[in-house]
Symmetry: C2
Subunit: 136 residues, 2 copies
């Protein structure tokens, strides 16, 4: 996923193209890892000193809604990363030091054989935490 593809998808959905959005997308395209809202704010303030959290969060949630980003909660903060729909649904190993991730293709929902009759499954989360080779 590159910036232009993402902006194209936004256009289809009726969202406007703004400099701030371009910049947000650039950051995610450049870094393949979960990033906290405040990091995004800090980055963007280099180019747009006036951006507010309102802009950051509104866009992050909107981008998550249209499946360009995916979100998770790390240490009480929401983190976002580019959704890698290239290789479909998957999970992550997340480094507790640097935040970098490694994709895990295995999905536990495929192998689960618990009796969930009567339960309406909406979602699931499977994440492995630890140290990546660089931080070990």
């Amino acid at each position: 996923m590159n910036v232009e593809t993402a902006l194209q998808r936004l256009k289809e959905k009726g969202f406007k193209r703004t400099k701030q959005r371009e910049r947000i997308l650039e950051i995610f395209v450049k870094q393949d890892q979960y990033i906290a809202a405040k990091e995004i704010l800090k980055e963007i303030q280099n180019d747009f000193p006036g951006v507010s959290y309102d802009t950051i969060y509104r866009n992050l949630y909107m981008l998550t809604d249209v499946d360009i980003l995916e979100a998770t909660e790390l240490g009480g903060e929401k983190h976002f990363r580019l959704g890698c729909d290239t290789h479909g649904h998957h999970h992550h190993f997340i480094c507790t030091t640097c935040g970098k991730t490694k994709s895990i293709e295995f999905c536990p929902m495929d192998s689960i054989n618990e009796n969930l009759h009567g339960y309406d499954v909406e979602n699931h989360k499977f994440e492995i935490y630890g140290k990546c080779p660089q931080c070990h």
Copy 2:
């Protein structure tokens, strides 16, 4: 796990027995589900009008440290429940409406065969979200 057993374990670890702790433990023993800090505060204020968040959080974290409680993050709030060490390590189905949980004995770490060589696994999270039969 009952209140007395828990207090016994605290004593062994050198923690004192206080009315507030007894009350906190009672709440968890009575309700077999994840509870938010503010719910605990509300409950306890019936008996101890003056309790502060400080007391709540200090005790919840302490009880989690000694493995009496276990914690998870739901919708930006930390939730706690009595650790059910009766049937060992397991995961949960969590109802997104009422918060009640159903234990899942299946653990994905047992069946995973991804190459995690060089990665130091510290922890993992597997949770299924949805509607329980009562809320369906």
